[in-house]
């Protein structure tokens, strides 16, 4: 079709956007009216918002929440599951208009394994971050069974953004995985891989053997690491997560390109305020995380120092995906109507869910919504993409308002916020008027 007519070049928005699956993990504790706001150490801090329309104080708004639950609560009796605590947290995410990163932990330093299992294995093992020895007990068998039940219920859940693959160790963060016999981990890994075929997964980057085993089964697994921001809080200049553990092991574990297909999630070491008080370089921390294609950051719902507000705002604008619609065309020829849209993802990661791209034609007589065949998961950072839609030839003649949206399919979350101005009350972005003769 040669007679493409430019309809519009949308005004690009520089606003902070909230979207499912990306950004800071939401901080409900800092939302709504607060007479005063305190940092993680209890000190009173000056209240501010990232923008006047945001709900959260001293912390960016978010479209992503975190839902964690412990095994002892979820399987209180052997093979008897009580999903209440997890369902409640997903319901809270829904009420916030968020989806959630989910993790079920086998135990923590304060939460024990289920009582029925503790009865069989009363002693804690020597390794500090284990509550049960995975090599000498049946932990792997029972945890694998639990994971399969978890997956059977929650794979594809509309309010789950992605799931952490908790294999072993306190909080399921993998401590000691390098000491676990490979065949013991294998069953747990397969439970996640085989159980979660729709919901994205991310693994803990803990040791080359367990990560290698995961990649053997599936290549589109992202990763999670737990101590973003540590610039020497454990060992000074000698060793830190940011300058020793992460850069080496993202590469050592062959996860350099994992971000193209799987989520990259970071959790803070301590709190961002601790980084500030330690005099650490926030620009460096942010730059490295963007280099690693971060989708989301768990700051444990604590305040961002006001001195770092601008740096963090820039960070949030790059985190995850950010879709700019740069240009829209239409063409009418021989009774057929087409639209062509030029997109660019200016974030650092793709969207890992196949949310449909929709075009709507609307006039006084009614509206027609069309789903395009584009898979937005292929819209990698810095790439220009064209979507083309050919509308049916039996559309009634007349003038139509053309608008676009990317829909999550979840009413409480709605359509994605695009990096352009003009979002209407329906969550679509009007592009212009088309005339079908």
């Amino acid at each position: 079709m040669k007679n493409w007519q430019l309809i519009t070049e949308p005004k690009i928005s520089g606003a902070l956007l909230t979207n499912p699956g990306i950004g800071f993990i939401a901080a409900p504790r800092l939302m709504n009216d607060h007479a005063e706001v305190r940092d993680n150490r209890g000190s009173l801090v000056r209240k501010y918002k990232f923008s006047p329309d945001q709900k959260t104080w001293n912390h960016p708004d978010s479209g992503l929440s975190y839902a964690g639950a412990s095994w002892n609560a979820l399987e209180p009796e052997e093979s008897v599951y009580d999903w209440t605590v997890l369902d409640e947290k997903l319901e809270k995410a829904k009420m916030l208009g968020c989806n959630a990163v989910v993790r079920c932990s086998p135990y923590s330093l304060t939460e024990d394994i289920p009582a029925w299992l503790r009865e069989r294995y009363p002693e804690d093992p020597e390794f500090p971050f284990w509550r049960i020895d995975p090599n000498t007990t049946d932990f792997a068998f029972y945890w694998e069974r639990f994971v399969r039940a978890f997956a059977a219920r929650y794979d594809g859940h509309p309010f789950i953004s992605s799931v952490d693959m908790a294999l072993c160790g306190a909080w399921g963060e993998g401590a000691g995985s390098e000491f676990v016999e490979e065949k013991k981990l294998d069953g747990i890994i397969r439970a996640y891989i085989e159980g979660f075929t729709v919901t994205p997964l991310q693994c803990l980057l803990h040791d080359p053997v367990s990560v290698g085993a995961i990649l053997k089964y599936r290549k589109n697994v992202g990763f999670r690491v737990d101590c973003l921001g540590d610039m020497g809080g454990f060992h000074g200049k000698e060793w830190s997560h940011m300058q020793d553990y992460y850069p080496m092991n993202i590469e050592n574990f062959n996860m350099h390109d994992a971000w193209e297909k799987g989520t990259v999630v970071f959790e803070a070491c301590w709190h961002m305020n601790d980084w500030y008080l330690s005099g650490w370089d926030i620009d460096y921390i942010i730059e490295e995380s963007l280099k690693w294609h971060i989708s989301s950051y768990n700051g444990k719902q604590t305040t961002v120092p006001i001195e770092w507000r601008d740096a963090v705002a820039k960070w949030v604008k790059k985190m995850g995906y950010r879709f700019e619609l740069r240009r829209a065309y239409a063409a009418a020829e021989n009774g057929s109507l087409r639209a062509k849209l030029l997109w660019c993802n200016t974030g650092v990661a793709p969207c890992y869910k196949p949310y449909p791209l929709l075009l709507k034609l609307k006039n006084a007589a009614g509206e027609h919504t069309f789903m395009l065949s584009d898979d937005i998961r292929a819209w990698l950072p810095d790439e220009d993409h064209l979507s083309v839609c050919e509308f049916p030839t039996d559309l009634p003649q007349g003038e139509y308002e053309l608008s676009v949206a990317i829909d999550t399919g979840v009413r409480e979350i709605g359509t994605l916020n695009l990096a352009i101005e003009g979002r209407n009350a329906e969550g679509f972005y009007p592009l212009g008027i088309l005339t079908l003769n």
Partner: protein, 344 residues
């Protein structure tokens, strides 16, 4: 926690060298600035210090394709070794068969210079990629930058930067277009001042504090390329030690054909040369296959193109265990098990 401490984790006391990184734009990292110089057959181009030579074949020249090919080869013979020429592109009108013949002829004649194809030229992109003679992407931006973005999308050129350099030509002074040069991972930019090319730095190098002359040295390297472009040169890492003005190479097997963006690690148990015991200066560098040192984004480059890493202590104590130390020891595997409430 003593058993799981950092000190107890290590099999050997480790030197952790963290070379200083330069984050600003530095000259000499790849093509950077260039100038497009158009030339017709039979003309003498006036070359800039870094030139993309754009050969323009007129329509009437296609009538005698053999003669035009000869003209191309004569032109190529004068410039295929000229260091001022970073690459060549061919613009021509005419029928498909003629054009294809000329494209390949130009690519072959100017080899080893890179043959660039315009992001707008769908036909040539398709042909040149399939036949393997495309070695660079040329992106010309006029007043409508989104037109160029569309070309990238239309011609599926978004990921070509991973395979070959991208040269971006922008109208002079249009500094606002710098974001697009970065988006397209430009190896070189014409018309505006912007960071382009690659910025490679050694970020960390570890090895045992005590090493044996003629023995084995487990060494781990962390490199970063902050881009915006890949380094598409075939390169090799070189190490050497120096003492009392005498240099000795340490053979290392790290020769990346291409250096992508972000991080790269190289872990190797190298064999040290037989040298006298003492404390040596360890130096590193990145070189082309022809031995030309590349500029790294590290401080302290010396005249030979090497950079100082740290001191290396070599003695005569046998350490045969180093040869296979990584068989059951993952040197980057330490993580803390204590959980301090606040950073120490």
């Amino acid at each position: 926690m003593g058993k799981y401490s950092l000190e107890n984790y290590e099999r050997y006391k480790t030197v952790r060298c963290r070379p200083s990184e330069i984050k600003e734009a530095i000259q000499g990292c790849g093509i950077n600035e260039f100038q497009t110089v158009c030339v017709h057959l039979g003309e003498e181009p006036v070359l800039a210090s870094s030139t993309l030579l754009k050969v323009i074949v007129r329509y009437d020249e296609l009538a005698d394709i053999e003669r035009t090919e000869s003209g191309l080869r004569r032109l190529a013979a004068r410039y295929y070794r000229d260091p001022r020429v970073v690459g060549v592109a061919l613009a021509s009108a005419g029928g498909t068969a003629s054009k294809r013949r000329l494209w390949e002829a130009a690519a072959e004649a100017f080899s080893p210079k890179r043959y660039y194809v315009s992001v707008f030229d769908a036909e040539q992109l398709d042909c040149a990629l399939k036949r393997g003679f495309m070695k660079g992407l040329y992106v010309w931006v006029d007043e409508d930058v989104l037109h160029t973005c569309e070309a990238f999308a239309q011609n599926n050129a978004q990921q070509l930067y991973k395979q070959m350099p991208v040269l971006v030509s922008v109208p002079s002074g249009r500094q606002k277009l710098a974001q697009y040069a970065a988006q397209w991972h430009a190896a070189g930019v014409e018309g505006i001042s912007v960071i382009s090319g690659w910025r490679i730095a050694l970020r960390r190098l570890t090895y045992p504090k005590a090493l044996t002359s003629g023995g084995y040295a487990p060494m781990r390297f962390w490199w970063t390329n902050r881009g915006p472009s890949f380094c598409h040169e075939e390169t090799e890492v070189r190490l050497r030690i120096e003492k009392d003005g005498r240099y000795t190479d340490i053979p290392i097997n790290d020769s990346p054909a291409r250096i992508r963006l972000a991080d790269r690690v190289h872990n190797e148990i190298v064999r040290l040369p037989d040298v006298e015991p003492g404390v040596y200066r360890l130096e590193y560098g990145l070189f082309t296959k022809d031995g030309i040192p590349l500029v790294l984004a590290n401080e302290g480059r010396n005249a030979a193109g090497f950079y100082f890493a740290d001191n290396m202590t070599i003695d005569l104590t046998p350490r045969p265990e180093y040869r296979n130390v990584w068989d059951d020891f993952f040197a980057d595997g330490y993580y803390p098990l204590e959980d301090p409430k606040q950073p120490v």
